[in-house]
């Protein structure tokens, strides 16, 4: 067995996977990767199941060192500079760390979460079928807490698989799509319009539990207390102060504030990757359109193995990117809108 040692890592970094489903009726938080597509892409690059456990790395940098053998890994999600001893490592590609080598990841440039998948996946003891960290409930494996320097993973020795990159669909920007409800009737038309027509920013106090939004105050028709009912990833609840909170993966399973709308499944990861201070808007879609997008998103996840390419062709890809820039597309790592991924058009 080789080891992958966390030599340094910032806050908001933890082991995450597809989430802990099936016990929400007992109050068990789902958790799981904030950007499920990026998790699936990183895992696919190293031959893992799409929702296997991987390292979710928050906005700050991290370094990982291979010990007692080579370790094959892949990175996807929020773009950031990455290198092994000065040799650049591309996002959305796999790379093998030789015994003793260190992979250095810089700060996220746009977005928040980058996923480091390890060939053979992270091993641990699942609880309710998941290794995902839920620090509040003390769940997660091999470490039931955020990662810290010195933590390590026992991993399979690297295979001789040639390195790969993955071609994700052209990134889309545009409004975050929502389906109104379940309690949109707790708001009058003027306040629903205010919610849909305003520009919002993700507050710096946001975390895996919820993204607090900065913008106009949304007023309720009948006050802000409703009888607690169930929540989902992407539920947008409006507490007494009128500042909406989008519930994310570490949400409580129930809540007592009216929920004006719900972010569609295909856009939850895109919202998760909207960094603090970035302005965005919402757009209401019909449930039929949202379910269409959800099915396309599922299809995109299923298609990931077909999107693998040999790393040898990566230079062509860089040329294509450069052409796109020349042609006027803003393909800049500094612009969150240009790397965010969504279902194919």
């Amino acid at each position: 067995m080789s080891r992958l040692v966390v030599a340094s890592i910032g806050p908001a970094s933890s082991v995450q996977d597809g989430g802990r489903h099936g016990a929400q009726r007992y109050g068990l938080t789902v958790s799981g990767a904030m950007d499920q597509l990026a998790l699936a892409a990183a895992n696919t690059l190293v031959g893992n199941e799409p929702f296997a456990a991987a390292v979710e790395i928050g906005p700050f940098g991290a370094t990982f060192a291979a010990r007692d053998g080579a370790v094959r890994v892949a990175i996807s999600g929020a773009p950031r500079p990455a290198d092994i001893a000065g040799r650049p490592v591309a996002m959305d590609s796999s790379v093998t760390l030789k015994d003793g080598e260190t992979l250095t990841l810089g700060f996220a440039r746009g977005g928040a979460f980058t996923y480091l998948a390890i060939e053979g996946a992270i091993k641990g003891e699942p609880v309710f079928g998941s290794l995902a960290v839920n620090a509040r409930a003390g769940l997660g494996s091999p470490y039931p807490r955020p990662l810290q320097a010195g933590d390590e993973f026992s991993v399979d020795a690297a295979s001789a698989t040639p390195e790969l990159r993955i071609e994700l669909p052209k990134p889309v920007s545009g409004p975050i799509r929502v389906v109104l409800g379940p309690q949109d009737d707790e708001f009058d038309d003027a306040n629903k319009a205010l919610f849909l027509d305003s520009e919002w920013k993700v507050s710096a106090t946001s975390d895996r539990m919820g993204y607090r939004l900065e913008g106009p105050a949304i007023k309720h028709l009948h006050g802000h207390n409703i009888v607690s009912d169930g929540t989902v990833n992407g539920s947008i609840q409006v507490p007494g102060n009128g500042a909406p909170i989008v519930l994310m993966m570490d949400r409580g399973t129930s809540g007592g504030y009216p929920k004006i709308a719900t972010v569609i499944t295909a856009d939850v990861g895109r919202l998760a990757q909207t960094s603090a201070g970035t302005a965005f808007r919402f757009r209401a879609v019909t449930i039929a359109e949202a379910q269409d997008e959800a099915r396309k998103f599922q299809q995109l996840i299923r298609s990931l193995p077909d999107r693998l390419r040999s790393s040898d062709t990566v230079e062509l890809n860089i040329e294509a990117l450069s052409d796109a820039n020349v042609a006027g597309y803003a393909v800049s790592a500094m612009d969150a809108g240009t790397w965010q991924v969504a279902a194919e058009p």
Binding site: Y26, A137, P182, S228, D229, V232, G252, I287, Q291
Partner: protein
């Protein structure tokens, strides 16, 4: 043919869940319909449903839109929900020990003062209640109870506490609660129970189910310490009374 019941409202919660709402308020009859629908869906599953979450007045149904659409699922749910359904279960009862007041129930004296009575009287009214687990949510094992004595209804604290102890027994508004893990809370803390409603690696991991009946009885703080150690070692402690 039995009379049809008024249909619940189907409220979309995004593209992969629907809230089946029977009432907007807390109501035991609505909660019974929630639990009966939950049981009916477990007994004859509709393809595409992945998970159901009963709450006071609604059932949240998670489903896979790749397998079933909102309209088709809604029709199937309504067909079941409008039939008179058998009650969810023969109701079992948990008798839960509570160490009231002092360090374990730091709000007991203030609650008594606010209601112009003595701490002993508050304990008597709390112990005298016949409660029902209406839902479990927020954090693992947090059991929301209906059945709080009307004389104990009082609004929640102005500012919630950022951390309240594991096992806290509290009241808030018209509800009573059994809290398992340490968590933030704006409720009034009356005491603590050694009972873990959720404990990993214990069988059962989760003690309470929506629909269960609950009564409390007072224990002294020394008994609490002993039972807390036993509970930590995996004992259930709560007394189960089957019908």
């Amino acid at each position: 043919m039995a009379a049809k019941l008024p249909p619940p409202r189907l409220l979309p919660s995004g593209d992969s869940a629907v809230t089946v709402e029977f009432r907007r308020t807390i109501d035991d009859a609505a909660n019974e319909r929630v639990l009966a629908l939950d049981k009916a869906l477990a007994a004859s599953p509709i393809a595409g449903i992945s998970e159901t979450i009963p709450t006071y007045r609604s059932l949240l149904v998670h489903y896979d839109p790749g397998k079933i659409g909102f309209e088709a699922l809604g029709e199937k749910i309504l067909a079941i929900a409008c039939r008179p359904l058998p009650p969810a279960s023969k109701t079992r009862r948990w008798r839960i020990p509570v160490a009231y007041g002092g360090e374990h129930g730091i709000d007991l004296e203030d609650v008594a003062k606010a209601l112009n009575t003595t701490p002993d009287d508050i304990v008597a009214r709390h112990v005298g209640g016949d409660y029902r687990v209406a839902m479990i949510g927020f954090t693992p094992g947090w059991s929301y109870l209906s059945g709080l004595d009307k004389s104990l209804h009082m609004s929640r604290r102005q500012s919630p506490r950022l951390l309240t102890p594991a096992g806290t027994i509290s009241i808030g508004g018209i509800q009573a609660g059994i809290q398992c893990l340490a968590a933030p809370s704006g409720w009034h803390l009356l005491g603590r129970t050694p009972v873990r409603t959720y404990q990993l690696h214990r069988n059962p991991t989760f003690l309470t189910e929506p629909g269960d009946r609950v009564t409390f009885f007072a224990i002294d703080h020394k008994t609490f310490e002993e039972q807390d150690r036993a509970a930590e070692a995996g004992e259930i402690i709560a007394e189960r009374v089957d019908p």
